[in-house]
């Protein structure tokens, strides 16, 4: 028989470097054992610490779903919005206060299905947002339904005889729509992910980082793919780092290779820059710069 662990021994001289980024009073979080979302938040938090971003200027916007809950766990100005609408909410936030660093942190279903239209249009407009898309290949919060990212032949609660519709290749989609920075990692690639997030903060424009993440409860269990740790081992074994890979070639399959790396890193003017230059050109002296909106 095992005992309940004795937790009374304090080691207060060791502090987790991500603790200042977390709402510690809300943890433990709701995510399942072996879920990778927490690991992505860990990499995100470490990117913030390492890149010395001014946390006061940082706002995080989530949609709905498992990853949508990230907003509630980070000690930042954080917005848990409606299903699919994190990107347009973030667009309003950024345009009203361009000094903010705005991160959109949401899931594959939220961003690419119900929010798919906003995803491509924000990329087209090149709104200066950092989008972190945790892709667990399924609708998890609602019980394991098919997502636009669910690989062919896997089984879901709404495709009980196997998924037969083709899935989205998200890096390809956002590159085609105009994103200036596109990367993909898995939750196995914690350091690379953290570095990618730091890099995205240095870009001005629409940045998109996809993170393949385990969903042991609703994707893997139904597909007999083991637990979270099994998924991590699969990522370790089957991931191939190919920076600059043509995004058309990085589509995912159920058990095949996962191409990871930084696929796109380019520059083009972001929405606000284009807007200002257009107004200056057309209106000349009549153009009035947007000043502080804050109406207190």
């Amino acid at each position: 028989m095992s005992d309940i662990l004795n937790t009374d021994i304090l080691d207060t001289d060791i502090v987790n470097p991500v603790e200042p980024i977390l709402r510690s009073d809300r943890i433990p979080h709701i995510w399942c054992p072996g879920c990778g979302i927490g690991t992505t938040v860990n990499s995100f938090a470490r990117a913030l610490v390492d890149s010395n971003i001014d946390l006061g200027s940082l706002a995080l916007v989530s949609g709905i779903g498992c990853t949508g809950r990230v907003a509630g766990y980070v000690k930042l100005d954080s917005f848990h919005t409606t299903h699919g609408r994190a990107i347009p909410f973030a667009t309003g936030l950024k345009l009203a206060n361009p000094k903010l660093n705005v991160v959109v942190y949401s899931g594959d279903g939220d961003l690419s299905a119900i929010g798919g239209n906003h995803l491509i249009h924000a990329a087209r407009r090149n709104i200066d947002l950092k989008v972190i898309c945790v892709n667990n290949l399924i609708y998890a919060m609602t019980g394991g339904q098919t997502a636009p990212t669910t690989p062919d032949h896997s089984t879901t609660s709404t495709n009980p005889y196997g998924v037969f519709e083709p899935s989205f290749n998200l890096p390809h989609l956002v590159e085609a729509a105009g994103a200036v920075y596109v990367a993909r990692w898995t939750t196995f690639h914690v350091r690379q992910l953290s570095r990618s997030i730091s890099e995205a903060f240095k870009k001005k424009g629409f940045s998109f980082i996809e993170v393949i993440s385990p969903c042991p409860t609703l994707y893997q269990r139904r597909n007999k793919m083991g637990d979270g740790l099994d998924a991590m081992k699969y990522y370790k074994e089957k991931s191939k780092v190919r920076h600059g890979a043509p995004t058309g070639e990085v589509g995912l399959t159920m058990t095949g290779e996962i191409i990871v790396g930084k696929f796109v890193d380019r520059d083009r003017p972001d929405y606000e820059t284009m807007m200002r230059s257009q107004f200056r050109e057309s209106l000349g002296e009549r153009f009035v710069e947007q000043t502080e909106m804050v109406c207190s």
């Binding site: 662990l5 021994i9 060791i14």
Partner: protein, 104 residues
């Protein structure tokens, strides 16, 4: 002397095993003991091997473990400037200790 030291908040742990699997020095094992939610948190089985690389901390989805480098006297090495001191009131990291009774 170990180069690093691990710290664990056992009540946050959900026993995914990521830290045990990916620790390059194999410092950790899942304990046979339970936390109050019924999970088996990791414990340190080879403290002398810890390099303080904190890969366990980076992999942990539950913010339940971290490691830090220590000086020869066993004190945590100074962290980066971004590391605030004494943050997170009410949150104390707890040192992993073998469970009472240990692994059986």
């Amino acid at each position: 002397m170990p180069k690093g030291r691990v710290s664990i908040v056992v009540e946050r742990c959900k026993a995914c095993g990521f830290c045990v699997e990916f620790c390059p020095s194999h410092v950790l094992a899942l304990s046979s003991a339970f936390n109050s939610k019924g999970y088996h948190p990791p414990h340190v089985v080879h403290p002398e091997k810890c390099s303080g690389c904190d890969l366990c901390g980076m992999y942990c989805p539950d913010f339940a473990i971290c490691a830090t480098k220590v000086d020869p006297a066993g004190h945590p090495a100074a962290r980066t400037a971004a590391q605030p001191a004494g943050q997170a009131a009410g949150q104390t990291m707890k040192k992993a200790t073998p469970a009472k009774g240990g692994s059986k």
